[in-house]
Symmetry: C2
Subunit: 214 residues, 2 copies
């Protein structure tokens, strides 16, 4: 698959781009905001697109045309205000879905957050963030896209183990960003993850096996 990555310059996005470049089955088109980011990804061997996620859905669609899948792993992050949470994590995500539909890219993988689907478990300190993720996920489920929603627990920077636990109600937990990226890549053509959402934390099961047994 030729995979369009929205949020390629993010922490999970960077792992994802590397994995896709190194993959025998896939290739990558990295969507980034700035030319200098694009140069860096080009040097790594990625196809790139310079598009502002706060801009028009039509531009995203134009760039994604011809790709086989879109991964949304953009996030406004903890350093900006909740204005950006609304504009990026919610509206940016939905614009990407609209772009996928417009460009005829059916496969869509969303990097969400553990508990985004359970309002009563939202962490009080970052509750507005969960609101944005929650409604982006709900919108995705209402589309005709062939989606997968991955809900990772607390994100760690340590090296991935390649072993995870996936399921419906995993409660709390954490997982290295590298393993999140690996799960996204493994999900791309794993039919068992189509039209499905699942929790993801570190565990004992190799990723491919875990996805076959969700």
């Amino acid at each position: 698959m030729h995979v369009f990555v929205v949020g390629a310059n993010g922490q999970i996005g960077r792992y994802l781009v590397k994995l896709l470049i190194d993959s025998n089955d896939h290739s990558v088109k990295a969507m980034v905001r700035k030319e200098e980011q694009a140069s860096e990804f080009k040097e790594m061997g990625a196809d790139t697109a310079v598009v502002d996620l706060e801009g028009d859905a039509g531009e995203i669609a134009e760039s994604a045309k011809g790709c086989d899948a879109i991964v949304f792993t953009a996030g406004s992050g903890g350093k900006t205000g909740y204005d950006k949470t609304l504009l990026i994590d919610l509206d940016g995500a939905v614009k990407t879905m609209e772009a996928a539909e417009k460009a005829g890219v059916k496969r869509f993988v969303m990097v969400s957050a553990l508990q985004a689907n359970n309002r009563k478990n939202w962490n009080e300190a970052i509750k507005p963030y969960y609101v944005a993720k929650h409604y982006a996920d709900i919108f995705l489920e209402s589309t005709d896209l062939n989606y997968t929603i991955v809900r990772p627990g607390g994100l760690l920077n340590e090296t991935g183990t390649g072993k995870v636990s996936v399921g419906d109600k995993l409660g709390r937990g954490s997982v290295p960003r590298e393993d999140v990226a690996k799960v996204v890549v493994a999900s791309l053509d794993e039919e068992n993850t189509y039209k499905r959402a699942f929790d993801l934390v570190s565990g004992e099961t190799p990723i491919n096996k875990a996805l076959k047994n969700i």
Copy 2:
């Protein structure tokens, strides 16, 4: 109709409560956050409920039980941050919809904002606010509730004229808050507004006539 007003203490909400108290056809239950607000509304002759919109949807449902309609006119306002926009204007609105469904209250009137349905026309200065209103409206349209979405233009504090213009693509315009409240009340049992969204600005047509000819 016995009308449950969420956001009764807001600027439109206060007009709405007064109109419903004075009405021959309707009565009101004002949902407010604080006991002292409830006392004030009680003195005016309203039934009241003290419920936090940031709390549980179950509590809202419990308070709305037995009412015939719910009006959502709560808004976090310009003085708080976009965290509250996410928690009140979006998640608070959707929790109220969930509460309506839970309480079996089928009729639901949403006070939205002009252009909330047109991303390309969102005012750059308060774009994140439109994101929240947009997705709350979309969610409402996806429910089985008998909804009306009123999208007023710029809100004015001057006295209402009772004359408006309603329609699908009114562009820019403004309207006194008092007239917005009057349109909401007139919509309650006007079948022409059921399962429908419309723009509202000041105009030349008496409200009841305008609603019959949307």
